[in-house]
């Protein structure tokens, strides 16, 4: 505790000396006491920034501590549960459509988003609050909100200009109003949290014990949820979404040997503040005179930490097998394939004949032949590829929620591409895929290294993926901020776009598909065996480890190929295998065929909708896929009890 206070003091001091106006420490110390410029600067700019940092860091840490107890889940925090993303989405929406509402009630706007997303996560994750399920649900909710936020930022480029920085959280303050608003809220909520510390001690023994001791579990839980959500929403409305502090601070505190919620809350607040101020100091040391979003700094430090936590959590949850689901009464394969094919033909005909403004049935006309036909074909092939990757990855991880974006491959691919753009600004956008491949390879490498010893336990791999994915998207945000004007094209690429695909893309993607489909088909038999469980599978003479390694490699290769060509399109790989499984059961070969076709159908449809919805403007198909796919996923999550 004393160390923490000391650190906070030192960091605060350094924090106050940083700023765009260059003053030496002795100048500051001497003149801050008399009226004048230096006093103005310190009192109206630097002190509020420090104060909001301390408050926000503390609030997030306490919120994290509460959520971790409530969900009995070491991975819980306002950012991993999607609360930050929901609040931020609401802020962006109101900034565009109801600017005056945002100006007057920023907190209520953020709160509405925070409440909505936490209600979603809690209802969808189910009563047991199983850690991995909660984490996955939170992640999918975050993905949903993030993709909607991204599409709005793209469509309203000028209105949301300043939001990129805030999107990763910043402590910039202009006066005391932010502090005056957030301060009392946070302090009251903090006191409330301290008030329920005792009941929470009892609660953490288990609900049955708690109620048998005469505790009103419902009320305690309600207050705890409310406090955590309000704390998170308050900080989002003042400093933007800042991740990882809520995750890390409570852990550090518990690692230091602190027990009992009263002390955990107190110390979490302290260490949350230390981390927040430290991150801000560091950000400004790296780029003096410029704003590096503080949320990005915390994310870069927090990503590896999450990785470590995920590793530890997975070790204590070795039994992670879950039913893949799938119908036991499959529809006859020829029937399914014919129906899907008819649908594909219909959508193709539609997509090739209509451009959003006029119909034309002459598909050989140069305009259509040069632009529309290859674009639709690319969309189809990429859709197929993404769906194939989804089948493989879900098979390996024996987790119906796995796909390339859950593994972190997609977001690391995005981060790699953006890094390339930042490191070499002159590089043409065409080379972004190169960075994507490297990023995806790094993600795969990390998973390989960390999961090797554990025999690729599905649970472990999924958790690693979430950690990597969080890190990747944080890094992407930093790079987006750094790349400034080049941002528009990068954003389009990041949200995934089948725009402007020509015949070269058709050829390239087709070659990749032909190359990779063989190994995928070959692997289906081993994956079928794997569904009986590890023990049975090895009893039947299957090398479980090498099957997982190979399916992982092939799956990641296919999805990386897709990402390299059209950017980060998620959801296709997640949703199509699900639908296929409900149609044809869980045998992998028919599954592969049907989900491939469905993936193609899905992406062609998304591309078509994106093309015509606001013609002549274009909505990136990745965003449409997310909008179509997420409701279905939410429905699935609800059903899988």
């Amino acid at each position: 505790m004393i160390i923490g206070l000391f650190l906070l003091f030192v960091l605060s001091f350094i924090h106050l000396t940083q700023g765009q106006a260059d003053y030496t420490v002795s100048q500051l110390l001497k003149e801050v006491w008399v009226e004048g410029r230096i006093q103005d600067i310190v009192l109206s700019l630097r002190l509020p920034r420090l104060a909001i940092g301390i408050l926000a860091g503390g609030a997030l840490a306490v919120a994290g501590a509460i959520l971790q107890t409530l969900t009995n889940n070491p991975l819980a925090s306002a950012s991993t549960l999607g609360i930050n993303a929901g609040a931020y989405f609401f802020v962006v929406v109101s900034m565009i459509f109801f600017p005056s509402v945002l100006g007057d009630f920023p907190f209520l706007v953020a709160l509405a988003g925070a409440v909505l997303s936490s209600v979603l996560v809690v209802t969808l994750a189910g009563k047991q609050m199983e850690p991995v399920r909660v984490a996955l649900t939170g992640m999918i909710i975050s993905l949903l909100f993030a993709s909607m936020t991204g599409s709005l930022q793209l469509l309203f480029e000028n209105q949301t200009n300043g939001l990129f920085l805030w999107g990763s959280g910043t402590l910039v303050q202009l006066n005391w109003s932010g502090v005056a608003f957030a301060g009392p809220m946070i302090i009251i909520l903090f006191i409330a949290a301290l008030g329920i510390a005792k009941p929470m001690d009892i609660l953490s023994l288990g609900e049955d014990v708690a109620s048998s001791l005469g505790q009103n579990v419902r009320i305690v839980k309600l207050i705890a949820w409310a406090a955590a959500i309000l704390l998170a929403a308050t900080t989002v409305s003042v400093v933007g979404p800042i991740g990882f502090i809520g995750l890390m601070a409570p852990h550090i505190v518990r690692m230091l040997g602190v027990r009992g919620h009263l002390h955990v809350f107190l110390q979490s607040f302290l260490w949350g503040s230390v981390m927040m101020i430290g991150a801000d100091v560091l950000g400004r040391l790296i780029q003096p005179g410029q704003e590096v979003p503080v949320g990005a700094m915390t994310a870069l430090a927090g990503g590896p930490w999450l990785l470590y936590l995920a590793w530890k959590t997975a070790k204590s949850h070795t039994k992670g097998d879950r039913q893949m689901g799938g119908t036991l009464k499959p529809v006859k394969l020829p029937v399914v394939i014919s129906i899907v094919t008819i649908l594909i033909v219909a959508v193709f005909a539609l997509a090739l004949s209509y451009n959003g403004m006029a119909w034309s049935l002459d598909w050989m006309k140069p305009v259509v032949w040069n632009f529309r036909v290859p674009r639709v074909l690319t969309a189809f092939i990429i859709g197929v590829m993404l769906a194939l990757a989804g089948v493989l990855l879900q098979g390996v991880l024996r987790n119906p929620l796995a796909d390339a974006s859950v593994l972190g491959v997609t977001s690391m691919g995005g981060a790699g591409a953006m890094l390339l753009l930042v490191a070499i600004p002159a590089i043409p956008v065409q080379y972004m895929p190169l960075g994507a491949v490297v990023g995806a390879a790094v993600a795969l490498g990390i998973i390989m290294v960390t999961a090797w010893k554990n025999n690729f336990q599905p649970m472990l791999v999924a958790l690693m993926g979430i950690a990597i994915s969080a890190f990747g998207s944080a890094a992407t945000q930093v790079f987006v901020v750094k790349a400034k004007l080049a941002v528009a094209s990068a954003l389009v690429w990041l949200s995934g776009s089948t725009y402007g695909k020509g015949w070269e893309d058709v050829q390239l993607s087709l070659w990749l598909l032909v190359l990779l489909i063989g190994p995928a088909v070959y692997l289906t038999r081993s994956l079928d065996v794997l569904t009986f469980g590890d023990d049975v599978a090895s009893g039947l003479g299957l090398s479980v480890k090498s099957t997982r390694v190979w399916a992982l490699i092939v799956g990641v290769a296919i999805s990386t190929a897709g990402v390299a060509i059209v950017g980060t399109i998620g959801f296709v790989g997640l949703v199509s295998p699900h639908i296929a499984r409900r149609l044809v059961g869980f045998r992998h070969l028919p599954l592969l065929v049907v989900s491939g076709l469905l993936g193609g159908l899905l992406l062609v449809t998304a591309d078509f909708v994106g093309r015509i919805a606001i013609a002549p403007k274009d909505i990136p198909s990745g965003l449409i896929v997310a909008l179509i796919g997420t409701p279905y996923l939410l429905y699935l999550l609800r059903k899988m009890k």
């Binding site: 805030w166 491939g596 013609a615």
Partner: protein
């Protein structure tokens, strides 16, 4: 391998064949270009572009280049993001109502462009490099880069070079000369007026402000920006010297950063509905006590003075400066 896989591979194979044929077809089309008497060659960031004859129907994918055409007395055939253009750009020349909208600036609608059958497409490097090949399938395409990495090129010089290239492409070099000559005259006039006016100091900084995350962000223009070059031409002195090369011609500051330049005149543009000076900064102690605020040396250039445009925007800018500084 079962029969579904076979069908699948068969389909795949046939598509490869089709694709192979088509790519040859397009190459043939691009190669045939003999130079005739009327041909003009212009230079963009994508190299030399040769047109058989001067372009009549031009599609512009960035506002600045549309403005260049208007300055030459010509309407574009098609243009991207027309609605937003009207919100941000204020110049004397009117954009005709029958200019076709070809979608967003970032992902313009290729089919809409092709439908106009243009003779020339003009794009901007940071948005349209990636789709150059597609655009070239429709018509000869020239791309300009308004933000060269080369520090020796100032952005005013870049603006006039691009303007002249566009003029060449549409065979209006005489008009271009006139426009630029007229602009030079205007500079001289403005310089004389500024000279006459009883300004306390000719030192200035020029800024563009907007609400960033929670607080105003203030872009302070650097000496290599187009707007700053105009200031220098009319006898004002931009005192902002950036720590590093700013490729977009401005540094981003918060209020604290302005203290360095408080003895200069403060020229600014700000969107009326996002007026950070009247909203957020009004009660800020640092802002209130800056010398240029206390001594009332703030000069508002109006919200739709486009600081990144062509010669017409340049003229709007200099008129605004003279209006506010001399006639205040």
């Amino acid at each position: 391998m079962n029969r579904y896989m076979k069908a699948f591979l068969l389909l795949a194979l046939s598509v490869i064949l089709v694709a192979g044929c088509s790519s040859k077809k397009t190459e043939d089309k691009g190669a045939g270009g003999e130079t005739s008497e009327n041909s003009v060659t212009i230079v963009g960031s994508n190299g030399e572009v040769t047109l058989d004859k001067p372009a009549k129907k031009v599609v512009v994918l960035e506002w600045t280049y549309a403005e260049d055409l208007l300055a030459l007395g010509m309407q574009p055939a098609g243009m991207a993001d027309i609605q937003e253009y009207h919100n941000w750009v204020n110049i004397d020349a009117e954009l005709s109502a029958d200019v076709a909208d070809v979608g967003g600036r970032q992902e313009p609608n290729l089919e809409a462009i092709a439908a106009l059958e243009p003779d020339l497409i003009i794009g901007v490097s940071f948005r349209h490099d990636a789709m150059l090949k597609d655009l070239e399938k429709i018509a000869p395409t020239v791309i300009f880069n308004p933000y060269p990495e080369d520090e020796s090129i100032d952005l005013y010089k870049e603006m006039t070079t691009t303007f002249n290239e566009i003029a060449k492409a549409v065979d209006k070099t005489d008009e271009a000369e006139k426009v630029l000559a007229h602009l030079d005259e205007k500079y001289e006039e403005a310089k004389a007026e500024i000279e006459k006016a009883d300004l306390k100091t000719k030192d200035v900084i020029l800024t563009l402000a907007y609400t960033g995350p929670q607080a105003p962000e203030i872009r302070v223009f650097t000496p290599n920006s187009m707007a700053s070059q105009i200031l220098e031409k009319i006898g004002l002195k931009n005192v902002h010297v950036p720590d590093q090369f700013e490729v977009f011609g401005s540094s981003t500051f918060n209020v604290e950063g302005l203290t360095k330049y408080e003895d200069a005149n403060y020229l600014y543009t700000v969107q009326e509905e996002d007026n950070v000076y009247e909203k957020q900064l009004k009660d800020n102690a640092v802002w209130k006590n800056l010398n240029f605020v206390k001594e009332d040396r703030l000069f508002n250039l109006g919200e739709d003075t486009w600081l990144y445009g062509g010669p017409l925007s340049a003229e709007t800018l200099l008129n605004q400066i003279v209006d506010t500084m001399v006639n205040k």
